[in-house]
Amino acid sequence: MLISLKNDVNEIARLCDEVKKFCEENGVSDEKYHDIVLILDEIVTNVINYAYPDGGTHTFTLDLRKEGDDRISMKLSDDGIPFDPLARDNPDTESSLEERQIGGLGIFIVKQLSEVVEYSRTDDKNHLSVTVSVLNNNNQQKQ
């Protein structure tokens, strides 16, 4: 499924609807839908907030696919300024409430929920590729 998105936070609502449809069509469980939609929210929000500092309306694409029986791949491509979200330091999840900072938490959650996250810059575009496993352990045990 190829989804075209604009650099506008209101696109997140439409993205969620499209992802829900995709997950239903591909038999993805509610729990995995939650993880996938959260990952996509974080990485699409990053593009909306940082890729186009000049403003104006821009369009970028998300390619959402089921790979084999047990994986969903998400490929996000934008023609914004070079931006590697993986270059950020992970947040310090051990610090106290007073000292705790929020920066970098979004991409940290993406890394935690996914199997593979890769960034590349080719053809003047940022490409972020995320793969998650959608194996349903409970169902496997029942079978």
Partner: protein, 110 residues
């Protein structure tokens, strides 16, 4: 997204509904800050949201910091497993109070 607000035993219970993301975080923040300005005992319920992104987690963290600084109490309640997983991986389970239900959170407010 909407944020329902009720008061029980002197505790303001906020229940956001739908998605707590970048596009709704401002409304969530306003509702939380209004509640904090009116009461120092706050519970936030997470049983009616689809998901909470880092933009929403920022608001929860800010609320926790503000209430701790002012001698208030924040307890997070009614959290489904999938949402708790996100709080846990963020390390928020170590710095914020999380209870299965409002009933079980009551000792924190006394």
């Amino acid at each position: 997204m909407e944020v329902k607000s009720t008061t029980t035993d002197g505790v303001t219970i906020l229940t956001p509904t739908g998605r707590v993301d970048t596009s709704t975080a401002k409304a969530f923040e306003s509702a939380v800050m209004d509640a904090i300005n009116a009461n120092k005992k706050i519970a936030i319920g997470f049983n009616e949201i689809d998901y909470i992104s880092s933009a929403g987690l920022r608001v929860v963290l800010m609320a926790g910091k503000k209430l701790q600084a002012s001698g208030g109490v924040l307890v997070l309640i009614n959290m489904p497993d999938k949402i708790f997983t996100v709080f846990k991986m963020s390390g928020f389970d170590k710095i914020l109070k999380i209870c299965p239900s409002f009933e079980e959170s009551k000792p924190f407010f006394n």
